[in-house]
């Protein structure tokens, strides 16, 4: 599923599925959530249909603080996909502060003038939301300290 942005290049959109509709509904409300099993209470690193620990189909969503730390990052200097050609652009893996098993991939938004040379593993980041369509808002992260 894609969507045309202002530059008329199709950006890749998520397809809410039976195991993560709740994530995208929360994102639409600008809330970051993590999935957990309502039977054994295990928080999952990635949304899925069945609990990998107790095999229950029952799950729900926990509000996350939206704060995290850089687990890794990489800056792209040559575009691979036409919709992500605003290079250099940095993606990161963010470890959530309150649910460390959950790591999210995100574009990393950096303040003006900050380059990847100034990034450090463990640097603090926080979530914000970008409304892509009427249905989809995307959680992304920005640095909170430099």
């Amino acid at each position: 599923m894609t969507e045309k942005n202002a530059a008329s290049v199709e950006r890749l959109l998520p397809t809410p599925s039976e195991w993560d509709i709740g994530f995208w509904e929360a994102a639409r409300q600008h809330r970051l959530v993590v999935q957990y099993c309502t039977n054994c209470k295990t928080v999952r690193s990635l949304p899925r249909l069945m609990c990998p620990v107790c095999r229950s189909f029952s799950f729900d969503w926990l509000q996350a603080s939206g704060k995290g730390r850089l687990y890794s990052w990489s800056t792209l200097y040559r575009a691979f996909h036409p919709a992500y050609a605003d290079i250099p652009r940095t993606i990161a893996i963010v470890e959530l502060e309150d649910h460390p098993c959950a790591h999210l991939v995100s574009t990393l938004h950096m303040p003006e003038g900050v380059t990847e040379e100034q990034l450090r593993i463990g640097q603090a980041v926080e979530v914000f939301f970008t409304d892509l369509t009427d249905e989809i808002s995307l959680p992304e992260f920005r640095l909170t300290e430099t």
């Binding site: 890749l12 959109l13 990489s74 992304e140």
Partner: protein, 394 residues
Amino acid sequence: MNSIKDRAVIVGIGATEFSACSGRSELRLALEAIMASLDDAGLDPAQVDGLVRFGLAQTNAAEPWIAHNLGLPMVRYWSCVDFGGGAGCALVGQAAMAVATGMANYVVIYRTLNGRSGRRPGTSETMTLYHGQDPSSENYGHPHGLTAPSQMFALIARRRMHEYGMTNEQLGKLAVTIRGYANRNPHAQMHAKPLTLDEYLAAPMLVSPLRKYDMCLQTDGAVAMVVTTPERARDLKQKPVFVKAATQASMAECQGPLQSFSAVSDLMKTPGTLAAAEVYRTAGLGPKDIDVAQLYDCFTPTLMMQLENFGFCSAGEAGRFIEDGHIEPNGSIPINTAGGNLGEAYIHGVNHILEGVRQIRGTSTSQVANAQTCLVTSGLPFPTSALILGGEQG
């Protein structure tokens, strides 16, 4: 005995040239490689009754069409192993099981692609081939522009720098060493192109911290091999190469074919350690018993993980292991002796199996003296496979 050990042998190998533009279809390349492997074995094509195909196929070379073109009177076994670069060694496992159980007599394995002149692996075009197979990547990676495998290995490399102190110079030394093997192989794409550490470091940063020479080639070409039982091998031309062990390996965290590590809690936990435990256990061997290894090298940091996961050095020590010269031709464990995905060709590591066969036969361009055991591995850290080849029964 519930083991594949010594119940199957590779008796023929064949390959097209490896180039940036084959000028031929993937179907044509596959048929050429298959015929070359049958000629190498001394086998009449009509005897082939099994076909095993590498899954990530951009082609019309599926098993029935290959059988149709080869004129096979009866095919009693076919299979296809999916999920990209982790599949290579599993192809041999499949063929070995077929002949060991008597489900087929002679199984041909093949992999073909115009990966440079046609649809290129690692690009957004190839990404569409995985559609539906990796929902986590599609929902949590792609929307953020994480669309190419090199980006994920770059994230792993950055984390290795933090956890292990890995340096760009160590990645560069690795790239230069593997290129050296390619330079000694007339059939390697990079045969005539030496690489120095200065050139490596001067090359443009593409997806930090990876540069141009950290990345594997893009190749047009095909490879094939023939598997049968040790008994049937006696009537054929070549010294048989024994399958000592073969395994596939994955785990819950590997949730997809390619970007399966996009959000796991430990980037360093890979199915490579599972694969290593299985092949060593079933072969009755350990890392010190391996004379030479062909390790999947889509990117240089991948190769470091391979050395560690398969026990040639401990976790985080691969950089120093390489600096100390262990993977050089006169080192303790020469690797990727035909040049690998980085320097020979990117045939998704199926070319590594052919080089393993050459090492056991004694025909490699960087031959390890009296090589009796060769480990071959497939891609990490996604669902993977591994193989140990040997020169003798027992």
